[in-house]
Amino acid sequence: MMPEVPASVSLVWLVVLLPLLGFLANGTLSFARPTATRAVSAVGAGVLVAAFVVAVAVAVGVARGAPEEPYVVTYWSWMPAGELSVDLAFQVDQLSTVMLLVVTGVGALIHLFSIGYMGADPGYARYFSYLNLFVFFMLLLVLGASFPVMFVGWEGVGLCSYLLIGFWFEDKVNADAGKKAFIMNRIGDAGFLVAMFLIFQATGSLSFQEVFRQAPATFEVGGTTITLITLALFLGCTGKSAQIPLYTWLPDAMAGPTPVSALIHAATMVTAGVYLVARTNVLFALAPVSSLVVAAVGAVTALFAATIALKQWDIKRILAYSTVSQLGYMFLGVGVGAWTSGIFHLATHAFFKALLFLGSGSVIHALHHAYHATHRHEDAQDVRNMGGLQRHMPWTAALMWVATLAIAGVPPFSGFFSKDEILSRAFTRGHEAPVFYVLWAIGVAAAVLTAFYMTRMMLYTFHGPNRTGDKEREHLHEAPWIMTGPLVVLGVGAVAGGVLNLPHILPAAGWLDMWLEPVTETGALFLPELHLEAGTEWRLLLGATVVAALGIGTAWRLLDPAALRPAAEAPAELGFARVLARKYYVDEIYDALIVRPFVWLSDRVLWKAADAFVIDGVGVNGAAQVARFAGWVGTRLQTGHVGTYVGLFVLGTLALLRVLTR
């Protein structure tokens, strides 16, 4: 039986409606008064802050009610079609509350940051309208009580992602990056759709509660149908959350404004896949093969992206590959059945990665202004053009170091606990099948690399001598408070986020575990009881600390920022470094294997043969030729001589008489 919805939870419609209103207001302003930046800022950031406040109220309502079954708030019947009936309904439970707080909280901070970052942009109102629309769709995704409602949000955030990646569409590279993201996501979305069809065929319903209630009885554990469904869902996740093989769009997505990268391509949208797996944990628990695939893809992606990040020079690309890598961790977590750990890492990652992106935005902002002031055209995102920035931007440097320590997994920062939890859960499952030890080892290797490349980025950006240029150096300065303020708040989250779910051996442990238990308990029934001895857990914690220290220490020892040359004078990469710098040539391989054959097929077969020859030639022109020939025959009959007409008329009459008197 559905529990009664408390008053504060029933306010959830307001959380969703506020960003939509913000979108409408800013969208109107972007046409009517694009210069009204004050109004745009007030509306754009204001709705997010208000939404966050309401979200907190909703969370309090959920905490007080502590429902075993989720609160489902139904507004209207959306698609009543025969046996299929989909309602526009929101599902408020512990999981969606966590996401609600992350999306509105981090979203509000990034909106505030954007006021400073985008202030001078001519498309300011358009930018905020897109950003508000994104938050609206993201909340729809998170709150949807059925697959179709979630899918609307899923598609909507894809659309906003496309619009914001190509925000500076005057530059073809940016527009192309937007298209790439859109198409890659379409491939994944096809998987989502197929999964929905299969689910409806098997259970006759698409609402989460109904599907999850029927699932244990309908599907046998490891059966073909459930494996297909979950693999198709996971295909959707690889698109949205940038996992192998569909990850290539995310680094290119850095073409968008940096706050967008922070909000969409680090903190919220790309974690939708993790959320989907956690949400459908019952289905994944019933399909061990799919879960293993999820974990394996996650682990391999984590390592693969981390190696690429080692040799990137663009500060945002380093962070983009880092995001891909961290998303891999989250999938490793949800793949080994540690759904809470996945969501935990999602939340901490939202803090420290948003902080890193906003910090890099602050750096880029400073460099951009410096180059703008001296009219030089250098790459403001290349770390080889930075160096020594801690002297000019102490706040940004300190806060980014906090985030770096968090992502590298240094205790007691938040990333340490969330990453350690995922790895220890993978390690625990090693008793069950040795393959999990392999996944754990890959995860550890990726963790070393993570600590290494993050330290490398920080060293090159903030330490050593400055390489920006002598004149430009005078123009480097710290960002305004509207940009550093959100950074401080995120920094607090990056430091303290770990308390959400401390390991079991510490006091006040496992808070998030308990919070999410109503959501994950059904799925957990199908997993073996996981138990880790205190001694092993201590050793794993210690190991994780050593791993982080190893990565940071190696980078500190090996890399010398003083030896680095500015981008314009830098020597070409050689050997394996070149392979890494060129991202293993994956884009080139995709281009050769998929894009070019497809273009060839479209050009030669579909266009020239099928369209131009068959449809245009035979179909359209052929029909015209037949009509023209028939017309020609007709004109031959039309002699203008009455004699011919009479003769034909008589012939026709005779034929008719013959037929009638038969």
Partner: protein
């Protein structure tokens, strides 16, 4: 007696019709047509339609054919000039199609009227004796077909106006 009259006038009608369409001169054709129309009028009498026969003579053989001759005279087509008959192919086509048409029309005879519509033999002859030759059709004409009959007057008026408009050099 009736049959002798019927067959002789039938023969005359057919021969005259044939001559009408094959004579070179339009005047000759018109005169042979008059013979045919007279013969048909005679056949109407044999078929107990004396009033129609009278109309045939008055309207067709009288009025219409006079009109034809008048136009021929006006256009000065009386004699001379090249033959308007078509060549060998035209004759063959005309003869062939005509022959086929005869055969097919003959076949139409098989479609007999329904029995319940048929009057007893000699009914029309008796009616003609009772009401007089005109009385046979007046009843139908002025009751059932009154409106078409009146509309006919409009048709004729329109034809008169049309003919005047078309034929007059200047209005």
């Amino acid at each position: 007696m009736t049959e002798v009259v019927f067959w002789s006038f039938s023969g005359a009608a057919i021969v005259a019709a044939f001559l009408c369409v094959t004579r070179r001169s339009p005047v000759a054709a018109a005169l042979w047509l008059i013979v045919t129309l007279f013969s048909i009028a005679a056949l109407f009498v044999v078929l107990d339609a004396q009033f129609i026969a009278a109309l045939q003579v008055l309207v067709y053989a009288g009025a219409i054919m006079v009109l034809f001759l008048f136009v021929i005279m006006l256009l000065n087509l009386g004699r001379g000039g090249p033959s308007d008959l078509r060549g060998a192919w035209g004759k063959l086509v005309a003869a062939g199609l005509g022959a086929v048409l005869v055969v097919e029309l003959w076949a139409v005879r098989a479609v007999a009227p329904a029995d319940h519509l048929q009057l007893p033999p000699g009914a029309m002859a008796r009616m003609s004796e009772e009401r007089g030759p005109v009385g046979v059709i007046t009843d139908a004409l002025f009751r059932e077909y009154l409106i078409p009959f009146e509309i006919t007057s409009m048709l004729l008026l329109a034809a008169i106006v049309g003919a005047v408009v078309l034929a007059k050099r200047r209005l």
